[in-house]
């Protein structure tokens, strides 16, 4: 049997070359492959293109959990529908990098999903209705089909997907939990190599075939998060405490209605 289990996050990212395209989920703070991001930061890989749902500043301690934005100094391009947090000045924190040459490509979240699907299914491109008449159409081909305007969007085919899962068996069959699912299944399928960090590695047969979300064939490398890893439930609780101290985001995170 092919062994997909890696002992360390550093080993799991060891072969990632400069210039690689990395897809990594970030739904604010959860659903992120914190440990793999940290390993890629340690490795120092350069000229990265990062595809992510949310790209926001690291507003809590990096030794609790890490967001894709810790890779900023290593990036040449960002592809994301959410660039920053409005109440923290939106994407302003990127300006210094953009001025130094980093490219930023924005689009609607559904367009990102559709482009990842297109990459996964081997399509040459899609005609997308979202973004017509907006900044998204700048520099892109447009076409009228049956009287309606569409934008040509290219497929996205990441070299690597960094995933955060709940449980994986040794074949890579994977389940997520709650919002952690998010963009991750399609990122896994669109990427050449998918690496997942999971709370628990289980035996083959422990996951009901009906409940598998990402079939094992899409998963290439698996690392179990150790007790002292990033983004554990304990560290999650600590992060939530840190966030409640931050005037700027506290109201946003908890059910206060403004």
């Amino acid at each position: 049997m092919l062994n997909k289990i890696f002992d360390s996050f550093d080993a799991a990212v060891a072969d990632i070359p400069d210039g690689a395209v990395i897809a990594v989920e970030c739904w604010g703070y959860p659903a992120t492959a914190h440990n793999l991001i940290a390993a890629l930061k340690r490795k120092g890989t350069k000229d990265l293109t990062v595809i992510t749902h949310t790209f926001i500043p690291q507003v809590f301690s990096e030794d609790l959990a890490t967001l894709p934005s810790v890779l900023l100094p290593q990036m040449k391009k960002l592809i994301s529908p959410i660039v920053g947090i409005m109440r923290l000045g939106a994407g302003g924190f990127l300006r210094e990098y953009v001025e130094k040459g980093m490219e930023v490509e924005v689009m609607g979240h559904g367009t990102l999903a559709a482009r990842l699907y297109a990459g996964a299914a081997g399509l040459g491109g899609i005609y997308d209705p979202v973004g017509v008449g907006t900044i998204v159409e700048e520099g892109r081909e447009k076409r009228v089909i049956n009287g309606k305007e569409y934008i040509f969007q290219e497929p996205l085919k990441p070299d690597y997907a960094f995933l955060s899962g709940h449980k994986a068996d040794k074949l890579g069959n994977l389940v997520y939990r709650g919002n952690y699912r998010s963009d991750q299944p399609m990122m896994a399928m669109a990427a050449k190599t998918a690496i997942v960090e999971v709370e628990k590695i289980v035996e083959v047969g422990d996951i009901d075939p009906e409940h598998v979300v990402t079939p094992g064939v899409f998963i290439d490398r698996i690392v179990e998060i150790p007790p002292d890893g990033l983004g554990t439930p304990e560290k999650g609780a600590a992060i939530i405490q840190q966030l409640t101290q931050l005037e700027s985001v506290r109201d946003m995170l908890f059910g206060k209605i403004e």
């Binding site: 409005m86 939106a90 907006t134 908890f254």
Partner: protein
């Protein structure tokens, strides 16, 4: 100066547009107020992959926050009865295929129903798109809740949006602190005004010419 509606009253009025069985995506800020006033049987969606999530975790019960469950505004929520969890591809099919109603905030709405609600700056770094463009284009019905005017009294309901667009000709209904306005092929139709306001007064604070509904009335909640 006359009284404008409170923010929660705007939310209450927008909530009246929702029926049991509707599935709704609520945007950041003002729209979230709707959630307090909707009838039983309305279910909420977050584009990150939950439909029918439960109550929010409030600031005085932080210890209950489980970051596996986050609503469309990034707030901690709880699993709801009959909830479904799905991936983002499924989520945006839901959004794009007209199965949802969207209640969003707005910076500007044009007389044709163009929406600008994602960006107040000059470039892509000036705001975040998120699911807004998909929701604006795809929702069965797009309801915008916003202040009728800018803080310095400028128009938000405009002939042509000056902020970067979210989508063209997508808005169905505008609920403000002064009025309820429907976007129709004949133009913006003023349907309801805040108590004590006249159609003429609302028109003055609105750039495009309003069509006055024959059954114009005071906002009812």
């Amino acid at each position: 100066m006359k009284q404008r509606l409170e923010r929660d009253v705007i939310g209450m009025r927008a909530a009246k547009e929702l029926q049991p069985g509707d599935c709704v995506n609520l945007g950041f800020g003002l729209p979230t107020l709707c959630a307090l006033y909707v009838p039983e049987g309305v279910r909420f969606q977050t584009e990150a992959g939950l439909l029918g999530y439960g109550r929010l975790v409030m600031a005085d019960e932080v210890e209950k926050a489980d970051w596996h469950y986050i609503d469309a505004s990034g707030r901690f929520c709880t699993p709801g009865l009959g909830m479904a969890i799905f991936d983002v591809v499924t989520s945006f099919i839901m959004i794009r295929s007209g199965r949802l109603i969207s209640v969003m905030g707005g910076f500007q709405v044009s007389e044709k129903g163009d929406l600008a609600n994602w960006n107040t700056g000059g470039d892509a770094l000036g705001g975040t798109i998120g699911g807004a463009m998909d929701l604006a284009v795809g929702s069965r019905r797009v309801i915008i809740t916003m202040d009728h005017n800018t803080k310095d009294g400028g128009y938000r309901i405009v002939k042509k949006c000056t902020y970067p667009l979210t989508a063209r000709e997508c808005v169905d209904l505008i609920v403000t602190d002064l009025a309820v306005i429907e976007v129709t092929p004949k133009g913006l139709v003023l349907k309801e005004v805040a108590p004590g306001w006249t159609a003429e007064e609302v028109q003055e604070l609105t750039e495009p010419k309003l069509v006055i509904a024959p059954d114009l009335k005071e906002i009812e909640l």
